[in-house]
Symmetry: C2
Subunit: 521 residues, 2 copies
């Protein structure tokens, strides 16, 4: 061969080897995809048990879906809490005693802690002071059965068995049902038990869509990965309306939209509340200021849709249930928790920054809004206390009208921003805007109050600084005790309830076969 | 050949052809890169004129850098203004008359319009009421020559010729220099005229870095693509300090950091102001409330660093001077304007959303903060007016201390957020936080005022709603006229100045050869 021919031959072989290597790599990749698909098919082909529609026993799903089940049981651990919020579950009222003042006249002033995982849902609503002590002499039974709605896959079953309106109209902790709602939030809440398709198991979300002229069945899979969460992580209220034959009927106030102003407008224009004829809707009359207060629940879905991740179509599951690869299987992590617990599988799927940078970016957003929140809480607490002083000194309803209107607006904005978990990350600027609006109204209330107080000869109202929950609760006790007794009495009753009544519920549930899985405290 | 051998041969040829195609493609790509480099090299090899260091005539650069020069001349057009802000330059005081109240006692209350492109810099400072009417009988000369610093590449030349301290200590509009500062912001402000490397031509930025222990010469090219802008688009003040022999010495208040609180702390602890011994720094004493006010300039650099684009290392030039490809040449667009004017060349380089979505995302951020801003302006204006009423009714300095302290804090936050162009996009949540803080302080001022006013027998102060700039200026005129005359007198003098004095400056500049380019109004 000439030198040129040698070179040409050498080049041809080199090219050939390169091409072979590339094709081999593609083959490996294709094989891994096929393996994954085969595994998915095999999961469905190798179902070990047949599962009934709406199955409420979570443990029944273990045999067929061991990975999802195992990660779901991990919600039993408190799970990741950010350094920013502390590493343990927090007694929020003790950390922020002004919140006791803001909720004076409502059960949240008795007891409010940071949330725990889905596995604890039934236990946590049972142990909370807020649900009182049914079955105990002198124990309160302050909540309707509607409070159970989001806590258990037993609820859709009950709704079907007894009728929806009848279910809502019952009382929380009534002995006939207490042994029926025993399995915590689990498989059937979000899945069709036979196909494992995502499903809407709670009527309120479906009904809210219908009132807006939308059919939730048209939602895409990606939308459903958010909407199954939106069954519960939303703002709602208990609708009482005689004309509609509704008692404590769980309703989402979305008819005008889901912004803080749209929902406020909805409540302000809703006057048909049974027994509260002619007044705009309120959740409670404040024990100190007499303000008709709107209590925000947890508008997590609403606020998440107002931020950039929601706007770009990122679903709740994308970050809160990241995929895990195990061998050829890719499955969703059912240990639902903060995405900061798994930055490598959550944020870093899209964002190339270091874990430290991404975590700090989140904390930075939380810190900025926390600053406004803390100021707003202080101003609202002061407004409630000053308003009480104004009433005590002879202020008239006419004089107080503007004051109460401003407090109502301010506290609604505060609660909407604060009650929604993760909102300062989900929609940082929108939450800052809402908190700033709240602060504005709280100040306007105090400015109006200053004039009323002067008129009645009060120059200064001493605003206490509370060292913790107990001090704040002691402060409001004279204003609430006539209606509900003291916090001390409630705690004693609750203790009896937990020792005497609850074990009976568990026993009955086990006897009837409704509860087959242990360890749910 | 056997069938197998035929197939093998066919396969080998196919592979060979595929590889050839790939290699040919790579060759094309490499050629395009080489062509581009060659063009860049040719730009430097084919320089048509030699340019002196610090050359202030922008037109001299045209021959060597025609593309950059042409796009720079496009700054003569008002350029893109968002639908959100209106399509034309706006008289801000007329659109927001409360700003007249906020600036009562400072030249900004006389005249403040939205900014125009770099080409207009010298004309716009000359025509503004704020610079008065030097050379006209009875005309004010309210500004130091420091005000020229950022308007022209003639300034670094002047600084070198006469000494830095001497330059700063002069008067704006003094006839000896007025015909020297004639070329608007251009090439030498950011470029070394011989190498075209980016350069820091203004001492204040270099000095601020030094005081922080940093050497600006260590900045990377990407950092320089921001820092050349940070020479001017920053918060600054005129330092008067006898011990340092400084008169109106342009200084950046960054020694404690660049946040709104860090800069406030800097000013609050700076007490060595000449003629204001023992007091913290202030820019002016408010004509109505007597508050020692901090006037924020345009902290665009500071606020841009607090948002996600700055935090991720995006430079000013990346979005405000996007690249243009023309044939083989890629160059920076020197028509510096809103990135929304060229979404395809700015946002969409990184973000895959539609132009409409991206534009709406920006407007959304602006709208949210504008809502807080508007409320804050109203509260601050009311506080100033109520404070005047308190003084008029005999309030003492002791009684007013808290009031003035809160107004100062509130207005500093308002101005910092508002004076910085684009801040609601650059750092949406940080600006919301700052505005919320401002609103908090403004309200605290009014709450304290309510008590002072009551003490002096005033129950209500009527806060006017101003229909436009003129109404608001008429309102403050009695409080400022003794010092500076009426706005009407100023306007008459300015008109004489523009007709009689300015033409002489231009004539002299042309005669001396300092001004060789027309059309700069």
């Amino acid at each position: 061969m000439t030198e040129n021919k040698k070179i040409a031959t050498w080049k041809a072989w080199t090219l050939f080897v390169v091409v072979l290597a590339v094709v081999f790599g593609l083959g490996l990749f294709a094989a891994s995809m096929l393996e994954r698909r085969a595994e998915v098919v095999s999961v469905f082909n190798n179902k070990k048990v047949d599962i009934a529609p709406g199955e409420a026993h979570n443990d029944v799903f273990e045999a067929n879906y061991p990975r999802e089940f195992k990660t779901w049981t991990e919600t039993a651990e408190t799970g990741f809490r950010s350094e920013y919020n502390g590493s343990e579950a927090v007694d929020v009222l003790d950390a922020r005693p002004n919140m006791v003042i803001l909720w004076a006249g409502y059960a949240f002033a008795w007891d409010y802690t940071t949330p725990r995982g889905h596995m604890h849902a039934v236990y946590d609503i049972t142990r909370s002071l807020r649900t009182g002590s049914p079955g105990v002499e002198g124990g309160l039974t302050p909540q309707p059965s509607t409070c159970w709605t989001c806590k258990s896959p037993d609820v859709p079953r009950l709704m079907q068995e007894m009728g929806l309106k009848e279910y809502y109209a019952g009382q929380w902790g009534n002995p006939a049902w207490a042994a029926e709602v025993v399995n915590p939030i689990g498989c059937s809440d979000c899945h069709d038990a036979q196909t494992m398709d995502l499903r809407i198991s709670r009527p309120a979300l479906r009904e809210a869509f219908e009132r807006q002229g939308k059919n939730i069945e048209d939602a895409s899979l990606q939308e459903m990965r958010t909407l199954v969460c939106a069954q519960c992580h939303v703002e709602y209220y208990f609708r009482n309306n005689e004309a509609e034959d509704k008692i404590n009927y769980l309703t989402f106030p979305w008819d005008n939209g889901i912004t803080v102003e749209a929902i406020e407008e909805y409540y302000d224009s809703y006057t048909a509340e049974t027994g509260k004829e002619g007044k705009p809707y309120y959740d409670y009359i404040h024990a100190l200021s007499k303000t008709p207060i709107l209590k925000a629940q947890h508008p997590g879905y609403e606020t998440s849709q107002m931020g950039i991740h929601g706007q770009r179509g990122v679903s709740c599951a994308d970050c809160h249930m990241p995929y895990i690869s195990e061998g050829g299987v890719k499955y969703s992590d059912h240990h639902i928790q903060s995405p900061l617990a798994n930055i490598d599988r959550t944020c870093q799927v899209c964002h190339r920054e270091s874990e430290e940078t991404l975590r700090e970016n989140v904390y930075d957003r939380q810190r900025k809004n926390d600053e406004i929140r803390t100021r707003l809480e202080a101003e609202l607490a002061a407004a409630h206390i000053e308003a009480k002083t104004a009433w005590d000194n002879g202020a008239t309803e006419g004089e107080m009208k503007e004051v109460l209107s401003e407090i109502r607006k301010g506290q609604w904005r505060w609660d909407f921003a604060v009650a929604s978990h993760g909102a300062s990350f989900h929609a940082p600027q929108e939450i800052a805007r809402i908190l700033a609006g709240g602060l504005d109204h709280a100040h306007l209330a105090r400015l109006a109050l200053a004039k009323v107080l002067f008129k009645h000869g009060v120059e200064n109202v001493k605003i206490p600084v509370f060292g913790g929950k107990e001090e704040a609760q002691k402060f409001i006790e004279p204003s609430i005790a006539a209606k509900v007794g003291t916090i001390g009495q409630m705690e004693k009753n609750k203790s009896r309830f937990m020792n005497e009544v609850r074990p009976e519920w568990i026993k009955a549930a086990k006897a009837s076969g409704k509860l087959t899985m242990e360890g749910l405290e």
